[in-house]
């Protein structure tokens, strides 16, 4: 178990600035997720923590030790690569046993541990296969077993579940969670899937082009996004550009498409803002003291256990979501509709994108 601290880590590749000064503090035994779109620098951050790349500037500490320039082979921060990096010339068994052999463990112990790890990832019986004889998902599980078997104090997972089918992904996800708790190891997990991040993590850092946008528990990130980027990244949501037209202390009135929403909380300087409203917080029934906007129905989409009503307000589409199909009785495309939203469910953030 280890505590990881990144201080102002900067990394450039030629002209590209991959990391623009990353600060993170990952606690003992935490499952910490780096979440962000493709190319934002997640893998680079992980590689620096693993000791496979070295930052241009900044410091990296494991507990109190400065490991910024310590070699990967001595760090004990084991990385599961995004591309698995299985050795094609070794069998599954030899792949998994490699780290143990390097540590010069006795043969019997190696056998025992490899068996344990392969059972963990449900690959018992595959010991003698070569990686080319495995499916993508099986390869990924070998990679996970190979990392877990050495019981690293810090485990780094770079999109470890990206190639598994939905069912196996859920299983492996809880498996990783369970193992992490059982072994009490610190895990840094990289994904671009926000749902996966929500489900698995103690805390999440949302990254965007080489920067950390926000760090917090899944609930905080989801409910209190601090920036437009985070709000937009956390699932399907309404992010509506608007303008502040009146201010009264920290209460403001904003306007978009000729519609006004008053009494919203906003303390930012900038008058260009975005209004963030989660679809499931929009009601199709009148609510007392709520703001309301009226427009036309553009589309009604059935998703099975919920229904989405896309309303058209001027040029702007806003999505409302309900789980009650009686709510949409009487609505039809091009007909009128009114959305009701409680003021506390409306977030006003400075426009930054």
């Amino acid at each position: 178990m280890v505590e990881v601290k990144l201080e102002n880590i900067v990394k450039t590749f030629g002209e590209t600035v991959a990391l623009k000064g990353i600060d993170l503090h990952i606690k003992h035994g935490e499952l910490f997720t780096l979440l962000g779109p493709s190319g934002c620098g997640k893998s680079t951050t992980l590689r620096i923590i693993a000791g496979l790349d070295f930052p241009d500037s900044g410091q990296l500490h494991f507990d109190d030790e400065d490991v910024t320039y310590k070699s990967s082979s001595e760090r004990g921060a084991v990385l599961v690569f995004q591309n698995y990096a299985l050795w094609p010339h070794m069998t599954v068994y030899d792949n998994v046993a490699y780290g143990l052999k390097v540590k010069k463990l006795p043969k019997q112990e190696i056998e025992k541990k490899v068996k344990w790890a392969l059972e963990l990832v449900k690959l018992q019986g595959y010991e003698d296969r070569y990686p080319t004889q495995l499916s993508g998902g099986q390869q990924q599980r070998v990679a996970i077993a190979r990392a877990l078997v050495v019981e690293p104090k810090l485990l780094l997972l770079d999109e470890p579940l990206s190639n598994l089918d939905a069912k196996l992904r859920l299983e492996m996800r809880s498996e990783i969670r369970r193992i992490q708790r059982e072994l009490g190891i610190t895990v840094i997990y990289v994904t671009h899937d926000q749902e996966e991040a929500m489900a698995i993590s103690d805390r999440v850092a949302v990254m965007n082009i080489g920067q950390i946008e926000q760090v917090g528990t899944p609930k905080e990130i989801y409910e209190q996004p601090k920036t437009e980027f985070v709000a937009a990244f956390m699932g399907k949501t309404n992010v509506i550009p608007a303008e502040v037209v009146e201010r009264d202390g920290d209460k403001v009135t904003v306007e978009f498409e000729g519609l006004r929403l008053d009494g919203l909380t906003y303390t930012g300087e900038n008058d260009k803002v975005v209004v963030v409203i989660r679809p499931e917080r929009i009601s199709l029934h009148p609510i007392e003291n709520a703001v309301s906007i009226t427009g036309k129905v553009d589309l009604i989409e059935y998703y099975g256990f919920f229904i989405e009503v896309v309303g058209l307000f001027g040029e702007r589409r806003i999505i409302a979501r309900t789980i009650n199909d009686r709510d949409v009785i009487g609505l039809r495309p091009q007909g009128g509709v009114t959305f009701y939203i409680e003021r506390e469910d409306i977030l006003v953030l400075p426009k930054t994108l």
Binding site: S73, L86, R146
Partner: protein
């Protein structure tokens, strides 16, 4: 037209298509008639005794201590005294008998070149040091083929008063005595020095193609240094290294130049290639079953090595599992002690191995080279003579025209065969694919013997096409055919690679728009692969110019129509002219090769690794 089961099975086209059928049939028939049948005709002779099928000749070879000598004879080194009274160690090697000698020599050459080639490849692939680009260029120099003269220079270097003794005995005093290398040891040395860049090129390609994350992962799990190399890096590069080494094995087995140069020492004659060659030369006109049997043994050894490596490499096609991702090549600056090691060991080896080519150039421009360290007296007489004397120029013209004609055949063969095998998968495609590269595994002297038997059997007696003709044999046709077969793999690989770069949908859309197969191939495909065809043709041309085995056997029956190499051999074996003129021809070949490499690299903007097996 309806679906035709037969064309589908054989040629992989549901409908009968004349162009595709031709693309299969033409190269297949050609290789059949001019490679397989001649070699098989030799089998017939080798297995016949007293009119019956028999293993007699093989038995008589394997029972004869001249061919198999176990335990071996002789001393590896002998202590002698020079005319100046210093002690001299003469190193010639020991005699296992002809067949085993060939195997031991080829085995040792393979081992030495594998080690050297791998070390150079690893260092150049993984370290950035000052002068690395010079290293890389220099490593191409030993690959420049200068038949005979190159081995001659090596012989001089390692002679009693040669360069090596001069440096290590006279100047550096690290050798307390003089050494002289001759016999089988000389052959091993000459071949190792010339062939190690072949392993280097193959190994280098392997090292830089290893997905770096595979090594990063091992490092990340605690592995480093030699362990990392032994467990991950080396095994992953092994298929490439082995492919290069196998090529060296085959080249060493069939090489005639080094044994001929060292033939002053009878031990150097005790090699299969030399035995076949000399019995052929001195017993012309006879069908000797014994040489045929010896040729078969050599062929079998080469083919086993060849098939073995094909099998092994195809088993280990680590078509890297990795799913894309960015590669951060594992190149680092060497630590000071590593840099020192590079400059103190690799640099001297490199200088030593490029010296033969430098020596050839010096020899071409000098008056004599007897017992001095370097050739003496600058002159351009030999270059002049080569270009102006019709008796020498004739050989150049002959070689140029034979090679040119062969290249036309090669272009036709490589385009048809590559088009057929890359686009249409019938049961004939793997057969054709193997047959096209099979010539790599057939020693040149075996081709020569096969052609000799074949052409003397099928052409009218005393016609110019018959090698036993009493009225003068004209080797033109035979040489053109031999060149076109022996150098086909170079061009075919290049064209095949080009075709694989062109997505089949480009052709399909053309056909879909109503163009005929012929129009599609000539209008769409040919322009797209023209650079590959050009590169392959240049390669084949260059290596046809320096072809040795067939040129110095069948090609030297009638010296009026002989190629360059036949003349060079005459110079070395019978002092028909001075060695300097042979060196001048070597320089000409060097110029041709460098021009070709530069032109190909400029025009196709690709690096041709020139020699590979897979």
């Amino acid at each position: 037209m309806k679906v035709n089961k037969w064309t589908e099975r054989f040629f992989g086209t549901p409908l009968f298509e004349p162009l595709v059928t031709f693309s299969y049939i033409f190269p297949l028939l050609y290789l059949m008639i001019f490679l397989i049948v001649p070699v098989l005709s030799m089998l017939l002779i080798a297995f016949t005794y007293d009119g019956n099928i028999s293993l007699h000749w093989f038995k008589s070879i394997l029972m004869d201590s001249y061919y198999l000598q176990v335990p071996p004879h002789g001393d590896f080194a002998q202590k002698l005294t020079t005319s100046t009274g210093e002690s001299l160690y003469l190193i010639r090697g020991i005699d296992f008998g002809v067949v085993l000698n060939s195997l031991v020599v080829a085995g040792l050459v393979t081992l030495f070149t594998a080690i050297l080639g791998t070390v150079f490849a690893f260092v150049i692939a993984r370290y950035n040091f000052k002068g690395k680009n010079l290293f890389r260029i220099a490593l191409f120099i030993p690959l420049l083929v200068t038949p005979f003269v190159n081995a001659y220079v090596i012989k001089q270097m390692f002679s009693e008063f040669g360069l090596i003794n001069y440096i290590f005995h006279e100047i550096l005093h690290v050798l307390p005595f003089r050494i002289k290398i001759d016999g089988l040891t000389g052959v091993v040395l000459a071949q190792s020095m010339a062939y190690y860049p072949i392993v280097y090129l193959n190994a280098y390609a392997s090292f830089i193609n290893i997905d770096p994350t595979l090594e990063e992962q091992a490092e990340n799990l605690g592995s480093k240094g030699f362990r990392l190399f032994r467990t991950v890096t080396f095994p992953l590069a092994l298929p490439g290294i082995a492919a290069g080494a196998t090529l060296v094995f085959i080249f060493s087995l069939e090489d005639l130049a080094a044994p001929i140069v060292f033939h002053g020492d009878p031990l150097a004659k005790k090699l299969m290639s030399y035995q076949i060659f000399s019995k052929f030369i001195y017993g012309l006109g006879e069908r000797s079953p014994e040489i045929a049997a010896l040729s078969i043994i050599m062929l079998i050894l080469a083919v086993i090595a060849f098939l073995g490596i094909r099998k092994y490499v195809s088993l280990r096609q680590y078509a890297m599992l990795s799913k894309g991702g960015r590669w951060k090549p594992r190149i680092s600056k060497p630590k000071p002690w590593q840099a020192l090691l590079i400059y103190l060991t690799l640099l001297p080896v490199l200088l030593l191995t490029i010296f033969p080519q430098i020596g050839v150039i010096m020899l071409a421009f000098s008056e004599r080279w007897t017992t001095t360290v370097l050739p003496q007296g600058f002159t351009i007489d030999y270059i002049k003579e080569m270009l102006l004397n019709p008796d020498v120029r004739r050989f150049i013209v002959n070689s140029l025209s034979y090679s040119g004609a062969a290249v036309i055949l090669i272009i036709l063969l490589s385009i048809t065969s590559s088009y057929a095998t890359s686009r249409f998968k019938g049961i004939l495609s793997p057969i054709l694919e193997s047959m096209v590269i099979l010539p790599i595994a057939v020693p040149g002297i075996v081709v020569a013997m096969g052609y000799f038997y074949f052409f003397s059997a099928v052409t009218p007696e005393n016609s110019p096409l018959n090698p036993t003709s009493l009225y003068g044999f004209n080797p033109a046709l035979v040489l053109i055919l031999a060149y076109s077969i022996r150098r086909l793999p170079f061009a075919a690989r290049s064209v095949y690679a080009g075709l694989q770069q062109v997505h089949i949908s480009l052709e399909e859309s053309s056909i879909n728009l109503g163009a005929s197969r012929w129009k599609t191939v000539t209008g769409i495909l040919m322009p797209l692969i023209s650079l590959n065809v050009f590169g392959g043709a240049m390669l084949s041309f260059v290596y046809s110019m320096s072809e040795t085995s067939v040129g110095i056997t069948l090609g030297s029956i009638n010296m009026d129509q002989a190629p360059i190499t036949a003349f060079m051999k005459e110079v070395l074996m019978s002092a028909a002219g001075s060695i300097n003129i042979a060196a001048a021809l070597g320089v000409l070949l060097i110029v041709v090769q460098i021009t070709a490499i530069v032109v190909v690299n400029i025009i196709t903007k690709q690096r041709y690794s020139f020699i590979g097996l897979t």
